[in-house]
């Protein structure tokens, strides 16, 4: 009786609970890429030291000296031990090894016109003062350096002292010298000095650079450069064949992510098992907790896998066993972490003029989150002493005040015709007066500046800004990866927006002209050949996030060299590689203009692709979702209360507006993969709106929203990009609810799928299959995992690999699964549960006739997929 009844009711309750909890998956969202800051200390680590350096300690150089500087920089000095450098004039900080004795010397190198140690020292000194001064005034490049330099030198000792001096000096020097350019010449000079011994190194380096510099600096003349370089590159390129190796971040030089390997097939992929698991050891310190999103994709070259960890430790491991060959820690401080500690990958360059036994004949080059280019020997991990200052080039040079986390490199550089091309991520949403989006090319051998492309002052600053000035501030930047056509000598730069993404009335003509465009830049001259703009007057943060892919596109009469450009809006454009002409009609659509805060600024039309779009239809009230009618009702009310007239809804302030698609795509940095044999393009994408509001300045001030250079109390890493960004200098700050999650349940207000993967016929642009990607297993209301094995389609970050074997390998989704998909059908044939999210592009390679598939599941703080330092390789059982 009573009992019975009770029991029954109880059951009902239980059921209710269970159902509610289980049935509704929510999803996490993803994240963008950028920054936060934190302050921390630097850890000095040391690493393996390659030959030259001995003890390494790192140094921070900077520091002490000027207060201002410090702040910015790393420094704080933690001076730990090391000296690093900062400084550097153009480039680099100190090479550790070398300097051993004094930090000073090292730095000088760059600038120094002459290499003598002695001289350097002096220089340094002088510099300091200046440096300091500069900083104060304007943002100067040199001044602050921050980051710790790289390699720890032998001297481990003196950190503290060293710091101060060194830093300053170096910087100054650089500026003064103004020598950045040097580049072209360098090549000519052939200075590659690869000086072996560390000690010596400084000097050598200097020399080399100098020469180069002298020669070249002034001339902008590309021509000269061109020839020499060209030759080399070709050679280099020849060595880099996709197949057994995975020599480029995008697989091959064309970034197709297609491998001719075919040992693993749909028939046997079910037997795939882990071959080895390697751990990089780079896990967040207490201060960096919640700020890691390594997003790392190794290269495979020869017998080794070459990679960087989240905080830029360069590592080589055996590709078959996972045993570590060497590592090199450039000493990136925690406070340099922008939105996330990320290092998507590294690039390789083989010096065509070097004997294979020479040091740094083949080098690994990375950009770091504290804005350095670092080059080490691929065989030993020893810094390339002839590159910049003992293997390091300081990218803060001529950028302005060094504010850690504001200017960071997270993508591998493109290397074409011997020129290392890199942009940098400028932390979004901070201020109009932000670091420049300048894209620079450096000589791969010497690290000397070959050219700079400052889109607002291309001629004036081609060889670097005049002394005492910096590259044009607040211009659109390139934070993602470029691809290059070695033959044409063009590098294709996917540009983003200026730092202030959501307000545009006060932007310059140059910003309006170049933002959100793919720019084909001639690497021999540093001049744009053509550009293709995907958004006019972008106030939605629709940065181009994907690396473009080069293909020979099938047309009636054979093929045509083309570049595939995916966008965050989901449009995929096919452009002529030489001219930028669209191979498919690029259509214009009319978009709403009058409902926002700056109707005059809105473009009445926007381009869409006539080839293919990943974008879904505009939202309607019925697309609102939830775990029950109550929260669904809440979302429906919000939908009706928000400003939304469809795609390209202008930003509003009196009430929120819906942006759909949101800034996560469409296609983001994972990019697309193209099976060039089957003629299939594989694109994974996000399908997530953002719910935003412009915050009037007064309200922003009340909320205490300040730009990064005015506060170091950066928000936690779990904050969404744009969630309360100050946009200093604009009349409005911005509040972004990325993924438009309901505050009631933390689930999205819109219904699934939140992400998918699609196969597209390359020739026609027609969809072959389209599947949600990611199961609901880790998602649910209030973050409670539902364990539902159904493919719901989660937000995803990270791309795919396609193989001749007929498989697509991809992690990316928030379910932390790594999966193999049949390229013909879209069916998931195999999965493995990763220790954290697979927000990284996988690769495939071969050693001794055995095919491996590898992913580094580092997780992503904002996608709530944990954190891991694992690198996992899979193969079929023997």
């Amino acid at each position: 009786m009573t009992l019975t009844r009770t029991t029954r009711t109880g059951l009902g309750g239980l059921l209710l609970t269970t159902c509610l909890a289980a049935a509704l998956p929510a999803l996490a969202q993803d994240a963008p890429a950028d920054p936060d800051t934190g302050v921390e200390v630097i850890e000095p680590e040391v690493t393996v030291v390659p030959p030259g350096n001995d003890a390494q300690a790192q140094t921070d150089t900077q520091t002490g000296s000027d207060p201002q500087t410090d702040a910015g920089t790393d420094a704080d000095a933690e001076s730990d031990a090391d000296t690093t450098s900062d400084t550097g004039a153009e480039e680099s900080p100190a090479a550790p090894g070398s300097n051993a004795e004094d930090t000073a010397p090292t730095e000088d190198t760059d600038q120094a016109d002459e290499p003598t140690p002695a001289e350097n020292a002096p220089t340094a000194t002088s510099s300091e003062p200046e440096a300091a001064a500069d900083t104060g005034d304007e943002p100067q490049p040199a001044g602050a350096d921050d980051s710790a330099p790289p390699p720890p030198p032998a001297d481990a000792d003196a950190p503290a002292n060293a710091d101060a001096d060194a830093d300053a000096d170096a910087d100054d020097g650089a500026e003064e010298g103004g020598t950045e350019d040097g580049g072209p010449a360098a090549a000519a000079t052939g200075t590659t000095s690869t000086a072996p011994s560390t000690d010596m190194a400084p000097a050598d380096t200097a020399t080399a650079d100098t020469e180069a510099t002298d020669t070249a600096p002034t001339d902008t003349a590309p021509t000269e450069t061109g020839p020499a370089e060209t030759a080399p590159s070709e050679t280099a390129q020849a060595d880099y064949e996709i197949g057994a190796d995975w020599p480029y971040w995008g697989g091959d030089a064309d970034a197709t992510r297609y491998s001719p390997l075919s040992q693993i097939t749909p028939e046997n992929v079910g037997q795939l098992e882990r071959a080895f698991v390697y751990n990089t050891g780079d896990m967040p310190s207490a201060e960096a907790e919640g700020k890691y999103a390594p997003e790392t994709t190794p290269l495979k070259y020869g017998d080794a896998l070459l990679m960087c960890s989240a905080k830029n430790v360069l590592i080589s491991i055996d590709a078959a066993t996972g045993e570590e060959n060497w590592r090199f820690d450039p000493g990136v401080p925690d406070e340099a972490i922008p939105y996330s500690a990320s290092c998507r990958g590294v690039s390789l360059w083989t010096d065509p003029d070097a004997a294979s036994s020479d040091a740094c004949a083949t080098r690994v080059i990375e950009g770091t989150i504290d804005a350095k280019l670092v080059a080490v020997d691929a065989e030993t991990g020893a810094p390339c002493e002839g590159f910049g200052e003992n293997g390091t080039v300081d990218l803060w040079q001529d950028i302005g005040e060094r504010v850690p986390g504001w200017y960071a490199v997270t993508a591998p550089p493109a290397i074409v015709r011997g020129v290392v091309v890199t942009g940098a991520q400028v932390k979004d949403g901070q201020a109009e007066d932000a670091p420049s989006g300048v894209v620079r090319g450096y000589d791969a051998r010497t690290g000397a500046l070959t050219w700079a492309w400052d889109l607002a002052a291309p001629e004036e600053n081609r060889d670097g800004p005049p002394e005492g000035e910096v590259y044009t501030r607040g211009t659109p930047n390139m934070w993602t990866t470029a691809v290059a056509d070695e033959e044409l000598g063009y590098v294709y730069l996917p540009l983003g927006n200026s730092s202030v993404d959501y307000y545009g009335s006060n932007r310059s003509e140059a910003e309006n002209e170049w933002a959100t465009s793919l720019v084909a830049l001639d690497v021999t001259t540093g001049e744009p050949a053509w550009s293709f703009q995907t958004v006019r007057h972008d106030v939605w943060d629709y940065d181009l996030g994907s690396q473009a892919t080069l293909v020979d596109f099938p047309v009636d009469e054979g093929t045509r060299p083309a570049v595939i450009l995916p966008s965050k809006q989901g449009d995929i454009y096919i452009l002529d590689r030489a001219t930028g002409e669209s191979l498919f009609p690029a259509e214009d659509i009319e978009v709403p203009t009058d409902s926002g805060v700056e109707p005059e600024f809105m473009s009445p039309t926007q381009p869409v692709s006539g080839y293919h779009t990943l974008r879904f239809d505009p939202l309607t009230e019925r697309d609102m979702w939830g775990m029950s009618p109550i929260d669904q009702l809440w979302c429906r009310i919000q939908f009706r209360r928000s400003e939304y007239q469809g795609f390209y809804q202008p930003p509003t302030s009196d009430r929120p507006w819906i942006q759909y698609p949101g800034y996560n795509g469409g296609s983001d940095w994972g990019s697309v993969a193209v099976d060039t044999e089957r003629g299939i393009l594989i694109a994974n994408y996000n399908n997530v709106p953002n719910h935003n509001r412009l915050i009037p300045r007064e309200e922003a001030d009340e909320r205490g929203l300040r730009p990064i250079d005015e506060t170091q109390t950066a928000s936690g890493g779990s904050k969404a990009e744009g969630e309360g960004d100050p946009q200093a200098g604009a009349p409005y700050a911005i509040d972004v609810n990325a993924g438009w999650r309901s505050p009631l349940t933390n689930m999205p207000c819109t219904q699934p799928p939140y992400g998918g993967i699609r196969a597209i016929d390359l020739e026609t642009g027609e969809t072959l299959w389209d599947q949600p990607i990611g199961t609901a297993r880790r998602n649910g209301p209030w973050g409670i995992p539902s364990y539902l094995p159904f493919q719901i389609g989660t937000p995803n970050n990270g791309g795919s690999v396609v193989t001749a074997g007929g498989l697509v390998f991809i992690g990316a989704a928030t379910d932390n699964l790594f999966r193999a998909i049949d390229i013909e059908t879209g069916e998931v044939l195999w999965t493995d549960t990763l220790p954290a999210g697979g927000q990284a592009n996988p690769i495939t390679y071969e050693v001794d006739g055995k095919q491996y598939v590898l992913i580094a599941p580092g997780g992503h703080h904002f996608m709530e997929t944990g954190v891991s330092d694992a690198v996992i390789s899979y193969a079929l059982p023997d």
Binding site: T9, I630, R636
Partner: protein, 123 residues
């Protein structure tokens, strides 16, 4: 069955309290849906929620009085919800989750309550 007596007799058993609890919860949900639903209507949105809110209130009232009619009213609400769901989203099953899961859970609970109810008040 044999228990009928138990029910009829005054109240105060555990079953009574459970029933009161269920009816109270349904009342609250009904009020929220009604209020929010009216708001949504004024914004130009769906009428479903206000109507469903009324349906839940009409369900709860008989339940407070231990009457089976509450369940019958709810069956109508549930069937209406089913039809509305199909009309609004067709066979997009993920879209059924917010619309049908919770209402179906309530249906199950009410069916489990049936033994505590009767068609006529006993007093």
């Amino acid at each position: 069955m044999a228990d009928h007596t138990t029910y009829t007799t005054p109240h105060r058993g555990a079953g009574h309290w459970i029933l009161m609890g269920v009816a109270t919860v349904l009342t609250l949900i009904g009020l929220v849906l009604l209020a929010g639903g009216i708001w949504l209507i004024t914004l130009g949105g769906s009428w479903y929620y206000a109507i469903a809110g009324i349906g839940l209130l009409l369900t709860a009232w008989p339940l407070f009085r231990h009457l089976t009619q509450g369940v019958l009213v709810y069956l109508v609400v549930w069937l209406g919800t089913l039809i509305w769901t199909y009309w609004e989203v067709g066979t997009d099953w993920w879209a059924w989750v917010p619309r049908m899961v919770a209402p179906t859970v309530i249906l199950v609970i009410l069916l489990l309550c049936l033994p505590m109810l009767s068609l006529r008040r006993r007093t």
